[in-house]
């Protein structure tokens, strides 16, 4: 743990909301608001998240408040779990406000069968998943794309995968933005980025990414669960990954470019990683087009993994193993959205969009209850299905948390537990584990993360999203 307890003045706005006033530092343009209970606040104040939130509050064109979700933790530039909105007219866009893993996100698949029916062949199915979906920094030789195909993925997203037989037409309406942002321009993505990504479609990657087989073990909102097609005992699959090396290179390219043009735009920042450019500038528009393209790559990556999971479940369970997409949400992205009378560029880094029932971007099947939001727990702990709320628009630009949030560095995690110990503990709880490296298993031990139940409880009580269902893991394929 770092020893950096926040020294900024804090005002309690409510039981779960603290504010750092705009006057706390002379260069702040807006206040900062942090959603947390007392326990989470102690963890937040103990790393550099607060200072990073204050730095974000200095960005040109930022409006309202800079928000921190209860899973916020120290990152680089923006903290992970931060939300900031900039006016399109005179605000900036910051690649660091999206992060290197552009459109890292989560997709939930619901099976047409329950765990009881699946259990006899579950271990074989999880093993088959680990063989069929490359993890770690692995490549996918079955989907090595030509340059032209990479460009089509970047501009058409999951629509291209329908054409290639890797997606069903009905899948598209259950993806955020239909799995393709319209502003994408493949010509703005560097050759280097395309080289890094051309054979990575359908791969998990490393770090905290995973494919997890789960069971719905508790319902909190029956109406929303019914709308999402979820019932107790049902088997589900949660996919957590992003745009892989392609997205990493897009961020690297544009952070470098913006770092060099900020002086020309008269922008001075407290942290170089916040490098940014006006949304209306050539550099700002170029990054937005490249970021949208990388986001489309990420949705396509999760789609290709979905296809592999469907193939495995078909082999294991026949027609009973068919899988329907519940939804797919991004938690590292910047999007142009209408808030009140203004068009804003909402940066969500480690935060999830959570629109309510009346929002026009909430997909048709979920208009009665709000869009689904998925909050993965740490490896081996429960994940949650939430529903977006209309109130969240006024509370957080329609955003909620994205996960549990780290409290322990990777090194500290490895020093506290061995990979073998973590594996034994998970298997002792009946969870089938497949991981290419014991070290990686130790780095992602549940003790390295905040308590996801506490994080979800805060967003529920604060009105940022409603609890719908809890998912318990039964099989983990770790990246």
């Amino acid at each position: 743990m770092t020893a950096a307890t926040s020294s900024y003045p804090t005002i309690a706005v409510g039981e779960l909301l603290r504010e750092i006033p705009r006057t706390a530092r002379s260069d702040m343009r807006v206040p900062v608001r942090i959603y947390a209970d007392d326990e989470l606040w102690r963890q937040i104040a103990d790393d550099r998240s607060v200072e990073q939130l204050v730095n974000v509050a200095t960005l040109p064109g930022v409006v309202g408040y800079v928000y921190a979700m209860p899973d916020v933790h120290e990152g680089y530039g923006f903290p992970v779990g931060g939300v900031a909105a900039m006016r399109e007219s005179d605000g900036v866009i910051s690649p660091g406000g999206v992060g290197y893993d552009i459109n890292c996100g989560v997709r939930l698949l619901a099976a047409a069968m329950d765990l009881d029916e699946a259990r006899p062949r579950l271990e074989a199915a999880v093993h088959d998943l680990s063989r069929s979906i490359p993890s770690g920094p692995g490549r996918n030789p079955r989907l090595d794309l030509s340059t032209a195909d990479v460009d089509r993925v970047l501009e058409e997203g999951c629509r291209f995968l329908v054409e290639r037989g890797l997606a069903l037409p009905e899948d598209l309406e259950r993806l955020e933005a239909g799995g393709a942002l319209p502003g994408a321009d493949a010509s703005l993505v560097s050759v280097r980025a395309k080289q890094r990504g051309h054979d990575q479609l359908g791969t998990i990657g490393s770090g905290n990414h995973f494919v997890e087989v789960q069971v719905v073990d508790e319902l909190f909102d029956a109406a929303a669960a019914e709308a999402y097609g979820l019932h107790r005992g049902q088997l589900t699959v949660l996919i957590h990954t992003g745009s892989r090396g392609l997205g990493h290179q897009v961020c690297t390219d544009y952070v470098r470019q913006m770092d060099q043009v900020m002086v020309r735009h008269g922008i001075r920042l407290p942290d170089r990683q916040l490098a940014c450019a006006p949304l209306t500038s050539p550099e700002g528009r170029a990054y937005f087009g490249a970021m949208c393209a990388a986001a489309n790559f990420a949705w396509s990556n999760r789609q290709a993994i979905t296809d592999a999971v469907r193939t495995v479940f078909g082999r294991a369970y026949g027609r009973s193993g068919r899988l329907r997409i519940v939804y797919d949400v991004a938690h590292n992205i910047a999007k142009l959205e209408t808030h009140g009378a203004e068009t804003l560029c909402v940066h969500r880094k480690g935060a999830t969009r959570a629109f309510g029932p009346t929002h026009p971007e909430t997909p048709g099947p979920y208009r009665a209850v709000g869009q689904p939001v998925f909050i993965p727990g740490s490896m081996g702990t429960a994940s949650y299905v939430l529903a977006g709320t209309d109130a969240a628009l006024g509370l957080s630009f329609g955003s909620t948390c994205h996960g549990a949030g780290r409290v322990m560095s990777r090194g500290e995690a490895k020093r506290s537990r061995t990979g073998a110990e973590v594996r034994r503990e998970l298997e002792g709880r009946g969870i089938i584990v497949r991981c290419p490296s014991s070290g990686e298993l130790a780095e992602e031990a549940p003790t390295a993360y905040k308590d996801v139940e506490r994080v979800v409880d805060v967003v529920h009580r604060a009105g940022l999203a409603r609890k719908v269902a809890r998912l318990r893991p039964v099989g983990v394929v770790k990246g």
Binding site: M1, G77, R192, G207, C251, T252, R256, R272, Q273, V407
Partner: protein
């Protein structure tokens, strides 16, 4: 064969996590690096007598992180040139070049001979190994907390690596 390294400066890992840099010792007898805890990423600190040695040592640190236990096949030399607006950005861009080559070509730079290094430009001969599958690839070198400072006896650099 398992990669064991061909040459390099002293390497040590110090499990501390604050950003307060201890007062530098007057003499820096050989390049060294530390991999320091960060909540979600990796903080790399490098010390050396000159910019050329600093970049060589940073390259060795990246190799250490990317080659953990990886099977390395044949090695080759190549020339790498990187330019940047200042020497701190040069450290980040140098590492980003190595990260790009590791992922795009599965070629991990492991031994470094810098021919020339000035504040905004480096030219180096790099010996690297082809690997089939790296256990831990770095995503990027960030600009957060990035610095290369003059210290008694040489230079000290810091860079946060996204992993």
């Amino acid at each position: 064969m398992a990669f064991t390294g061909r040459s390099g400066g002293r390497t040590y890992v110090e499990p501390v996590s604050d950003t307060t840099i201890p007062a530098a010792t007057p003499a820096l007898p050989s390049p060294s690096h530390e991999i320091v805890d960060h909540v979600s990423e990796i903080r790399l600190r490098v010390r050396a007598g000159s910019l050329a040695e600093l970049l060589e040592e940073a390259g060795r640190a990246a190799a250490q992180l990317q080659l953990r236990g990886a099977d390395a096949t044949r090695g080759t030399w190549r020339t790498i040139e990187v330019s940047a607006p200042d020497r701190a950005a040069l450290l980040a861009d140098w590492l980003n070049e190595l990260i790009y080559l590791a992922e795009a070509e599965r070629w991990v730079g492991a031994d470094f001979e810098v021919d020339s290094a000035e504040d905004g430009r480096v030219r180096a001969r790099v010996w690297g190994v082809l690997i089939e599958r790296a256990p831990a690839l770095l995503k990027a070198a960030t600009l957060h907390g990035l610095r290369v400072d003059d210290v008694p006896g040489g230079l000290e650099g810091q860079v946060i690596l996204d992993v």
